[in-house]
Symmetry: C2
Subunit: 394 residues, 2 copies
């Protein structure tokens, strides 16, 4: 008796969480130390101490009624101002308090943007492979998600598939770099290609195409610059989450950021403000907002992720696996050893290796290895990966 | 360039927050002590000390990575179990951990339920006057809100308008008691009438009609019992928020509760779990969830609201105003002294009284007085109300 809309999508979805649940069952049978679970993107590095310190200080010093009361739908003014100033200093931008809308994480931000922009049948283009929930966000709010497959040799956006995916119905392009599931950081060259095509198409269609940059992994980039997209394209809307930078995904805090040069800026802010209410968010949690006054530049120790990435990348390529060097996030995209990535994942389970099939991310033939696990687990998994590889050589 | 869906609703909405903003402007001109602002439902009684104590203890004792990490979409198991046990003891129910889904407040819960149940054109019936955002929640998620006007002499549900509002397209009935905007607590007699009609109509239509009970004001009831609806109707889905009971509306925490006798129970849980993700919620904020382990039965001091209610109710009726005795929440519904409630509100502003027009709540000819203000403000407003009344006697 649930809605037909939902029924259809539930039946067709491959839920990574189910695989994760299966991992828990396997751990119960074989012992968790004997399972190599690379399925879910749950941060494994401790939050910086500043998070708890900030929360306690706020609880000790602010008046409870004001602290826990309703802020404006768009968030506390001093928090929004603080974030605007931080971004302006860090990325040489021109944000003001007005252009920052506090949201319950990046997922909420994307849904708020979708509700603000999409009428029935409008299209959203994203680069595939992509985070599978994108489809749910867009389709729940009346849109259609159109994937533009990356060049699978480089995992970078491809000009031909991208241009072919755009249409007069495209309201926004959703870009995610560093990328989930591939770990790729889109190069400045890729960004220029994407934004050049967008500028051309905007002119051709006679209406704006917004570039929505979903950046929860921005801080998790290893010895590489992640281009800041406002410098390449005026109609950029940045979506950010502190889930990964501070290892606090359960606390649901992030923001939408727009410079005033974004077309229909005031109108968009009004629409997003209303959408915060219409979608039942009302406002992002108040304590988590205030915490950012003291943690806006804090970060987890990313060298821990980097170490695990290096162990796995070197070991897997040495064994003979194909994978593109992942420069960010905590994902490594691995070419399956047979065409059917789901079957490959099933076979890997025999070696107690759990991975997410690329088909779930519109990246068939590949698998996602989430390396947000202790370095020790990565090390111990290497013989199992070797055994799996050898099985395919017979 | 925002979506046409949103544009239409923005243009037609009467936003109470705008009136509240106007109040702030008036306060700047005349001094806040000279303005009687009864427009917005922002709790004015201090949160119980247990809230901050619980949060600090959790921050001091739990491991940060687990505390701030992803809980299940439906919430922390121990929190859900704790709430189930509490409700079973308090209201003699039969909830289990599985039947409790933690949400970012009651608004989020209603949107999650709407997304789980509504296909395009499905209907939701609610008793008018109603909280104006109901329309936005339902219509954003594909439904149509159908109001059933209460008996305006008693502010209780009316059997004739209710039965007329139901149709084979009705997926759920949204009920809110204690009520925003009227302050009415629906009597046991009203509840029996409503649920008897629902039982009859379910049979007639051959499919379930869920009764969604939105109860953020349950704890704010003055010397009166608020019937617990699961005792009257099996297909009841309870929606709760701690915003008012604990004066923490900025923190966004609440739940959905279903007993296993609810039709299609497992299916609904699967749909709601998916909807938590599809709507971008992912999960209710983790720290706020855990806080409930220590605050599930805590409450603000409701005698403070009751005192203000008594001052206003007695003074206003003595002057000659018509209002029905408000037994719960912090709202008093007052009959306007002219047919056009918006004009009446405008005229009240001349006396520095700010109220919300009933038209915004589908209760034309009346106005909402939010008495979540200091008792002193209520007392000092009485001469202004008298002057306003006298103006209409000429």
């Amino acid at each position: 008796m649930i809605s037909k809309r939902l029924r259809g999508s539930l039946d067709s979805s491959i839920c990574i969480r189910d695989i994760f649940e299966e991992g828990k069952k396997m751990a119960a049978i074989y012992g968790s130390e004997n399972i190599f679970n690379f399925t879910i993107g749950n941060p494994s590095v401790e939050p910086p101490a500043a998070v708890n310190e900030a929360m306690k200080e706020i609880l000790d010093t602010e008046k409870p009624l004001a602290l826990h009361g309703y802020p404006a739908n768009v968030g506390h003014p001093e928090v929004r101002r603080h974030i605007a100033n931080y971004l302006n200093g860090k990325y040489d931008c021109h944000y003001t308090e007005q252009g920052i809308i506090m949201t319950s994480g990046a997922a909420a931000a994307i849904v708020v943007i979708a509700n603000s922009l999409l009428d029935n049948g409008d299209e959203v283009v994203t680069f595939a492979p992509y985070f599978w929930e994108y489809k749910s966000y867009v389709e729940t709010l009346y849109g259609k998600l159109v994937p533009a497959l990356c060049n699978m040799e480089t995992l970078q956006p491809d000009p031909e598939t991208f241009e072919a995916a755009l249409s007069p119905k495209t309201r926004f392009v959703l870009i995610n770099t560093p990328n989930n599931p591939t770990g790729a950081v889109y190069t400045e060259e890729s960004i220029r290609m994407v934004t050049d095509i967008l500028k051309k198409k905007q002119e051709e269609y006679g209406h704006p195409i917004y570039l929505v940059s979903d950046e929860p992994y921005r801080k998790l980039a290893y010895d590489i610059e992640v281009p800041y997209l406002t410098h390449y394209y005026e109609n950029t809307i940045v979506v950010y989450s502190y889930s990964k930078a501070l290892s606090i995904p359960g606390e649901r805090i992030g923001y939408i950021a727009m410079e005033s040069c974004v077309q229909d800026y005031e109108d968009l802010i009004a629409g997003m403000t209303a959408s915060m209410r219409y979608l039942g968010y009302v406002n992002a949690p108040s304590l988590q907002q205030k915490m950012l006054l003291k943690c806006v530049d804090a970060s987890v120790d990313i060298s821990i992720y980097q170490e695990t990435r290096d162990i796995l990348y070197h070991a897997l390529t040495e064994i003979g696996y194909t994978c593109i060097h992942p420069d960010g996030a905590f994902y490594l995209f691995l070419k399956a050893l047979e065409e059917d990535d789901t079957k490959f994942c099933e076979r890997a389970k025999e070696e107690k290796i759990l991975m997410a099939p690329g088909t779930a991310f519109y990246g068939p033939g590949w698998v996602r290895v989430s390396y947000c696990v202790p370095a020790d687990v990565a090390k111990r998994s290497v013989p199992a990966f070797k055994k799996l590889y050898d099985k395919y050589q017979k």
